[in-house]
């Protein structure tokens, strides 16, 4: 099986409102950044391009078509798109490299969630006969999940607040973070609940923005003469859509994906997990089998800024940055999709 190298990553600031920036204008700066990290001009210099986005975030059909205008796709390029987080665009790109049709790929994800009411937009992901017509929002679904964990004494409200406090602390060192700063657990706990048992601080802030990454074969990375990290394992799994039939206190699909990706085959120094709610970080930490030796979400994770459709890709990007900087030599990245962690992707990254 061909190894996959990550050679470049960039993400935008997490902005509560990107204001006057359309799809192309959100994407272009990130593409410029990853091209310049490798010394490339445009998408002509990679063999494949794949993006992730969701039309309903900004309320326009074919949002991704505008994205092509940022690529310099003349002459025409090999290009594809998933209506998913860009972490799955990365997955599709890896298949392309492994089948031998590409040696390199550009991946990007973008979204302008501020245009709509995200928890309500996402309620239309649910069963269209039984749930979507009730307009059950995703924050409420997560809140019911959190209550199960609390009442089964699998977590405490204090532990949830600790996740938030640590994320904000880490966020201070993340130039793209939307939130960051010192906040005590007691302060967080003193705030009233929002959708009980969740407090507003337990929910990731919604952000507009984009992220981009370049991957390639290790040979290509050496040819380009740039530092790289290896993706040594990657897998993703989905679970039943019926929340009543899932054990919401666990993430079975994350467990499965972690096993296939080989998370436990070595020490995990850092893990970047896509947990839009504080209690989900705890679930994911357990499902990934992470212990005290692992620093979870050193970037602050999505608790300090959630770039819908790009946050999953950004988790890989954050681990990549720490590996090429020499800070760590092995880490895990995770992406999620769907209500209460229905669909999960796990990747293991290692130094070359």
């Amino acid at each position: 099986m061909k190894d996959i190298a990550i050679v470049a990553f960039s993400q935008s600031d997490c902005l509560a409102r990107a204001g006057a920036a359309n799809e192309v204008e959100l994407i272009m700066p990130q593409l410029r950044a990853v091209f310049s990290q490798v010394g490339l001009n445009n998408a002509q210099d990679v063999d494949f391009v794949c993006s992730g986005s969701c039309d309903y975030l900004q309320g326009a059909a074919f949002a991704f078509v505008a994205g092509v205008d940022a690529l310099g796709a003349v002459p025409p390029i090999k290009e594809s798109h998933v209506e998913m987080d860009a972490a799955w665009a990365l997955y599709e790109s890896i298949l392309k490299i492994r089948m031998g049709q590409a040696d390199s790929a550009l991946i990007y994800g973008f979204g302008k969630s501020s245009s709509g009411e995200l928890p309500i937009v996402l309620s239309q992901q649910l069963d269209p006969y039984y749930l979507a017509p009730l307009w059950v929002d995703t924050v409420s679904l997560a809140a019911m999940q959190a209550r199960m964990l609390l009442e089964k004494e699998l977590i405490t409200e204090r532990a949830m607040a600790q996740v938030v406090a640590r994320a904000r602390m880490h966020g201070r060192n993340n130039p793209h973070a939307q939130l960051g700063g010192e906040v005590s657990v007691d302060e967080l706990l003193a705030a009233p609940t929002f959708v009980s048992p969740l407090r507003e601080s337990d929910c990731a802030p919604v952000a507009d923005g984009a992220a981009a990454m370049i991957i390639c074969t290790p040979d290509k990375a050496r040819e380009w003469g740039v530092p790289y990290a290896l993706i040594s394992g990657i897998d993703h799994r989905i679970e039943t859509h019926n929340l009543g039939m899932r054990d919401l206190t666990d993430s079975v699909s994350t467990r499965l994906a972690a096993q296939t990706a080989g998370v436990s085959r070595g020490p995990v120094e850092v893990a970047e997990v896509y947990a839009p709610f504080s209690h989900q970080e705890i679930i994911l930490g357990r499902a990934l089998g992470l212990g005290d030796e692992t620093v979870i979400n050193p970037s602050g994770g999505v608790m300090v800024g959630n770039l819908m459709m790009a946050s999953g890709l950004s988790r890989l990007g954050e681990v990549f940055r720490r590996i090429v900087s020499g800070e760590v030599s092995r880490g895990v990245a995770h992406a999620t999709s769907g209500p209460c962690l229905q669909h999960n992707l796990v990747a293991v990254l290692e130094s070359a």
């Binding site: 326009a60 290009e79 594809s80 298949l95």
Partner: protein, 387 residues
């Protein structure tokens, strides 16, 4: 190098204006079950599911793979959702194939669908957004001027589109799954049908259908486990270019030409008209047959219409290179599935399993899809033999 993979099962639904007897899950399920049965396999034999469809707004279900997980036996498996506009059916097949061709999966199920009758979202293709020109004239409004320019350049007579419209509906009448069943259609009837977007007449445009199409793709070592002959995937290619840029060749898009050249190179095709036995090509407006005949290298530039008029693309006229024996997009058009139907019908031909629209002794066939402003292309070549 890509691992060898083959289509070992194909399942389709009937294509109809409205499938009011099933839910969305029921529709995709029907195609999936048909594909599994055709492959002689069960749900446990499938390692991953890849689904595709056109914009979510057609059904109003955001990222529908989330809800469709259970209908497709996906609990605990990988599931991927592709969306590349009108070419999505083709790209989904290609992404599914890459799961096997990469060596990472042994057997995958791929399904595409559209249940367009549920919405009034036909016009979601261009939802009126603030500050934009509200000139929503539908897909025909976009493509008609391009067809007009083709007519001007090529000097083609006015009735080429009429000929294609009749030919594909006669093909469709041989296909029991086809939405339109018009065995007695005449050129006069097409000519007399209402002009919608001049020069596109009503009967020169595709219908709007509900339907789903599925395939099972297997790795070389598992192909024998399925009872029917495989369709070996001999080449896959995709190309994209921006919708509009200065100097863009809209009539004969470079993305289409490049994509064809790429897939032919992989399949060892030097003369598509001679080397291929038939083709299933995305022709939603009749005039796109002569245009794509040129774009795909079946005829020199400006002469595609001559091939059409000679009957070369007609099964009924015993043409040497029949196009769209299934009836094509002009006979059935569940948008998100339309591309995959082309890919699957190409596979049916080389499996010798195309029923009344079988091309005798077909060994090599092209499946083609395009989308957006004729800017996204996906193609594959499938063969009865491995090489």
């Amino acid at each position: 190098m890509a691992k060898l993979a083959a289509v070992v099962g194909i399942g389709q639904t009937h294509y109809k204006t409205r499938r009011s007897d099933v839910s969305i899950a029921g529709l995709v399920r029907e195609a999936a079950v048909n594909a599994l049965e055709d492959a002689g396999l069960g749900w446990d034999d499938i390692d991953a599911v890849i689904i595709g469809k056109a914009p979510d707004m057609f059904e109003g279900v955001v990222m529908p793979e989330i809800y469709l997980t259970d209908a497709l036996g996906c609990n605990g498996k990988p599931m991927l959702r592709v969306h590349t506009a009108g070419s999505v059916g083709g790209s989904t097949a290609i992404v599914a194939a890459s799961h096997v061709q990469s060596g990472m999966f042994k057997r995958v199920l791929t399904v595409t669908f559209e249940k367009q009758s549920e919405s009034n979202a036909m016009w979601a293709l261009s939802t009126p957004q603030p500050f934009s020109v509200h000139l929503n004239a539908g897909a025909g409004g976009y493509f008609a001027p391009i067809i007009r320019e083709y007519m001007r350049r090529s000097g083609a007579p006015y009735d080429v589109g009429i000929k294609v419209a009749v030919k594909d509906r006669l093909h469709g009448a041989r296909n029991p799954l086809s939405h339109l069943q018009l065995p007695n259609i005449t050129p006069q009837e097409v000519e007399d049908s209402m002009m919608l977007w001049d020069p596109i007449r009503f009967l020169e445009a595709c219908p709007s259908s509900d339907g789903a199409c599925a395939m099972v793709i297997a790795a070389e070592d598992l192909v024998q486990q399925s009872p029917k002959p495989p369709a070996w995937i001999r080449g896959v290619a995709m190309r994209s270019e921006p919708t509009m840029y200065a100097g863009r060749e809209e009539v004969n898009p470079q993305a289409g030409r490049d994509c064809a050249a790429d897939v032919y190179r992989q399949a060892g095709i030097t003369d598509p008209r001679k080397d291929l036995d038939c083709a299933e090509v995305y022709v939603p407006f009749s005039w796109y047959e002569p245009m794509w005949l040129e774009n795909l290298g079946f005829a020199p530039e400006g002469e595609g219409w001559k091939l059409t008029m000679s009957g070369a693309t007609s099964l009924d006229e015993g043409g040497d290179i029949p196009w769209n024996c299934s009836g094509g997009v002009l006979s059935s058009n569940p948008i998100g599935a339309s591309g995959m139907i082309r890919f699957a019908e190409a596979a049916r031909q080389v499996r010798g399993d195309a029923g009344d629209h079988q091309v005798e002794n077909a060994k090599l066939a092209l499946g083609h899809a395009y989308g957006g402003g004729a800017q996204f292309f996906s193609m594959w070549v499938v063969g009865a033999n491995k090489s």
